[in-house]
Amino acid sequence: MESSERPRFERVDWSDIDTERRLVTVERSLFVLGLLVVAGLFLYDRYYAHVYLVAQWVVTPIDWAVMTGLVGLVSFGVVPALRNRAAIGQTYESIRSRPVLTGALAFLAVFGVIGTVLPILLGRPDLHFGYAYQPPVGVTVDAGWSPKCFGTIKQGQGIQRYCEGSILIPLGTNGRGQLMEAMLVAGARPAIYVVLFTAAFIVPLATAVGVAAGFRGGRLDDLLMTYVDVQLCLPAIFLYFIGYMYIGPSLLLLLVTFGLLSWGPVARLVRSEVLQRREDGYVVVARSLGGSDSYVARRHVLPNVTNTLVPAVFHLFAILILAEAGVAFLGFSDVELYSWGSTIAEGLSPDRMAAYQVWWISTVPAVALAATVVALKLAGDGLRDVLDPRGGR
Amino acid sequence: MAERPPTSENALLDVSDLRTHIDADRGTVHAVDGVSFAVDRGEAVCLVGESGSGKSVTCESLTGIVPQPPAEIVSGDVAFDGIDLRAEGADLRAVRGDRIGHVFQNPQHALDPVYSVGEQLIEAITAHGDPGGRAARERAIDLLREVGIPRANVRIDDYPHEFSGGMAQRVAIAISLAGDPDLLIADEPTTAVDVTVQARLIELLRDLLDEGMALLLITHDLRVVASLADRVLVMFGGTIVERGPIAEVFENPAHPYTQALFDSYDGFGQLPDRPSRHDLPTDGCRFRAECPHAVEACADGPQPPFHAVDGDSSHAASCVYYGEGRDATTVRDADRGVRPVGEVEDDD
């Protein structure tokens, strides 16, 4: 050991070091700033703007909830992740080496952007009753279904005429002449809102409860887990219908009821992981250094439980998207949301023809829904592999 | 091919030039690199080495329980009571458990937590053709008694977690005895338990030896070796570097690595340099990078040949200094080793 000069750590004057806990951090400031912006927009929308906040956007309560959630996600989720430059590079490389994961994440990114941004800009899909039931490109249907045909009209036998799909409307239109592409884009919005809301509110809630129960144990643990057990017995859809009776169709209501009742299993998962890792050497050391429970959980426990947590969270996203689609399919959601579920339902009961004859109205959103769910599951599994501490670095 | 020690006709286990390679991230590791030794009937042989010396992989390779892949038993012969364990189609599963028993370090890992110890014992008993039913249960209770579990008839229905560490290890030993094996291979059986419990387990192993069972014991603890072994094999870097009867090896450790091992039980000396992170060589003397007496000749050949220490062919070291024309006194150190107080019991 080089003992020529005093080691650096002995030269530290600890009475000088400011040991006050820092209240102001980058994340917290960003969060407060973001909240102020949202609050400002809210007031503007309430008292100043008339119908649209900006472009074609009518802001509903779910939008405010999601905006707030987004602020939280960005300040406490995205920003700290970006600051860890070393891990970023490695994670990026890991992702790039897995084509399936890259594909799934790219799909979700596109889906996310489309769902959040485009509906704001484009507003409600335009109605063109004149062009109802237009077929997709390459498909030919009876021209009598709609007053006009956007594509070419073909002559059949006798007075039979066919309308052929046009490349300009590649996916066709629905019963009100709304473009299927537009319906896809519009339907992406409730789906992405489900993901954002869950990620911003449900997952942190579940994690916090799991950490508290796991670390503190004792009565708090008993109380919380008993509550979770009771909660698991309540069917979410039942509660939603009750709320529906009073409030009417509302995505926020749906997310609140389904979300509130679905955090239980994730909380249990987190709790079980915390219990297992509490006595690991580095956790004990961190606690002995005076780290608070939340610090130790954030820095040492949670990053090491990604193997179970990440797939579980993505699974939750998938389930809730399907739940939302299901409720919409049954007709209990806000029509203005244009959820994929309601579009699927529409396609199954068209006005004048058999459902299979206008198959694209149900199929297109169904494919989108399926693709989204698959992408979420693949992303969950792939990210778990990427984040696995034992995976090859 | 590494030199083979002279084998007596009594040899129960005869290992010749065993090599096992493991496919790891950083390349192929020569975990067992030319190991030869024999175990006689009723004899206690201890395989001593640090982690990474290859002692565990050696023993797992004997009965083929080492996972292949990523490991691969590349070459060598293993003969057990005349049976060639390395032959194509050799019935290793018949030998495992029935003729050769295995005990591992952590009993809670070896025991299945969802079955009672009785169920696990009976499974071991009936695995080799013994009839089940009452007879098997009786035998299970007998086995538990033999290893010293009190109230065996009651505890047979308990689950592994209901046993303390030492008791669980006794249960594991009982299971390994179910097939009435001739040889017990025990890999660090006392490392995970308290010292008073270790003492009792050592006594149990001695009782089993007295009944004629052979023991191949792997350990890193020289004190456990001293308390049990008839013969010692010292391993380093996948090779055996020294072998011989226990009294001689302990009184007169010949190989520089063995000497370094004994040194570490005696105070702790100077602050060492930065630990080196080199990979061990795969030829010559594996210890040469750390040996204070290393010379060029140490790098020759697959391994320095074994030379008798002090004219006694059974105590030999794989070190060039003991060969012809070299001065062993450079390496020999009269002050090392242990001064025995009495005679070591010689079990026939």
């Binding site: 050991m1 080691p7 650096r8 750590f9 002995e10 600890w14 070091i17 400011d18 040991t19 891990a87 004792g218 050497g281 580095y282 004990v284 050391v285 961190a286 606690r287 002995s288 250094l289 005076g290 040492h300 990053p303 090491n304 501490p389 034992r390 | 640090e50 008694r145 009190p150 065996a152 008839n153 303390s164 560490g165 010292v195 008073t196 003492a199 050592i202 006594e203 020289l222 004190r223 001293a226 308390s227 226990i246 009294a247 302990f250 370094a260 040194d263 570490s264 039980y265 005696d266 702790f268 602050l271 060492p272 340099d273 930065r274 630990p275 242990v338 001064r339 025995p340 107080v341 070591v344």
Partner: protein
């Protein structure tokens, strides 16, 4: 136990009658039905620059004690004084300082580091948690410390799995050093290491102690390591310190029977010395229900014979083994209460003497043998307890100065009519 040997200066750490009990609860309302007395009245001091070994087996409470000192467990009674101040009553800022000045090294080097953090960040963690915000400054300190423990400054970017066990333990020591502590609590720092690496780490710890003037509380189950490394040692059994003092005194001339049992149980390096004396029984009592009087009495080879009988040491030794083995239920393999053995078998199994001088004792022992032959364990226990009482089970031994150090054993107590037994290594 309030014995506190005075040394020249005030002790750095002074523990007085420390207790850490865990309640055993039942039911939803968590009704307390018992207590695990993990640490049950422990006192000792550590002075600046000295190493104190804490030796004990599993169940002794040594890890709980170490954790209680660090604030990881809440003591239920007693005081801990650090540098004169009571730890339980420190202001928030002083508590912060205390946490900085006392550092922990955990047992398993494989679990000591978060697998996701680069070791540079892990080693810097105490600095960050104590308020050093300047990342460059932290990095400089970390690089300096790594060099001093025998690693390289470039290692800061690596991950824990890239290091060997011995190197990880060096990293753990580095992490403990970065905040310039006064006391290191090392919980089995060498137990998971090979012999040569153990030696290296002990050398490093010794160097650290001398260079940086750090005291070390060295918790270990390995009495040999403690002998080599520590200045003083305290031996723990079931939550109590039974003997403490200078290492040479305690380990060469052990006064307490448990210390002797521990020393006897460690196999000798001499292959011709294979004797492993055993305690009376093997079962370690439940910390929630420790034996009455002296906690070690159920296993003590030196347990004191009853007052009024006149038994030879040999006879008493066998009878004591009989009594406590039966009491604990640890019957030898041959005795199966469902198919009760004959009395002759019982006699033989416990190696009971044929003739017992004292009439009453002989009758009692015979009764017990008969009871066992009838399969009646409880009656056997009763009879033996009645005719073979011992002061060791009736009274808690006082802590007495023996050979210049505190020992908690009746045989060392001049007020008790029993002599310390001689001991040869």
């Amino acid at each position: 136990m309030t014995e506190r040997p005075g040394e020249g200066s005030d002790p750095l750490l002074s523990v007085s009658d420390l207790e850490t009990h865990y309640p055993i609860t039942e039911g939803w309302l968590r009704r307390e039905v018992g207590r695990v007395r993990a640490v049950d009245g422990v006192s000792f001091d550590i002075h600046a620059g000295e190493t104190l070994g804490l030796v004990g087996e599993s169940g002794s409470g040594k890890t709980t004690l170490a954790h209680s000192l660090l604030g990881l467990e809440e003591p239920t009674a007693g005081t801990v004084r650090f540098d004169g101040d009571r730890v339980g009553e420190l202001s928030w800022a002083d508590q912060r300082a205390f946490r900085r000045r006392v550092q922990l090294i955990v047992q398993d080097p494989n679990e000591a580091f978060n697998p996701r953090l680069q070791v540079g960040k892990a080693v810097a963690e105490p600095l960050a948690l104590n308020g050093m915000d300047d990342a460059d400054r932290r990095q400089a300190i970390v690089e300096d410390v790594l060099e001093r423990v025998g690693l390289a400054a470039e290692d800061t970017d690596r991950y824990p799995h890239e290091f060997s066990d011995g190197e990880k333990q060096r990293l753990a020591i580095a992490r403990a050093l970065v905040v310039d502590p006064d006391l290191l609590v090392a919980d089995e720092p060498t137990s998971a290491l090979d012999a040569r690496v153990q030696s290296d780490i002990l050398a490093l710890l010794d160097e650290v102690r001398r260079e940086f003037d750090v005291s070390i509380l060295f918790v270990s189950h390995d009495i040999d390591v403690v002998r080599r490394f520590c200045d003083r040692v305290a031996v723990m059994y079931l939550g109590e310190i039974v003997e403490r003092g200078a290492v040479d005194a305690v380990l060469d001339r052990p006064a307490h029977p448990y210390t002797r049992v521990l020393l006897d149980s460690v196999p000798s390096l001499d292959p011709s010395d294979r004797d492993l004396p055993a305690p009376l029984t093997d079962t370690i009592p439940d910390p929630a229900d420790p034996p009455s009087g002296c906690r070690f009495h159920t296993r003590c080879p030196s347990v004191i014979e009853p007052d009024d009988t006149d038994l030879s040491a040999e006879t008493w030794s066998r009878l004591a083994a009989f009594r406590f083995t039966v009491q604990v239920g640890e019957l030898p393999a041959r005795i199966d209460l469902d198919q009760p053995p004959s009395e002759a078998v019982v006699q033989e199994a416990f190696d009971l003497p044929d003739e017992i001088a004292d009439e009453q004792t002989a009758v009692g022992v015979d009764d017990a043998v008969t009871a066992l032959a009838d399969g009646d364990l409880d009656r056997a226990k009763e009879r033996l307890a009645a005719v073979l009482p011992s002061v060791c089970e009736q009274q808690v031994p006082a802590t007495v100065e023996t050979d210049g150090r505190p020992v908690q054993c009746h045989r060392s107590d001049p007020d008790v009519d029993a002599e310390p037994r001689p001991w040869t290594e």
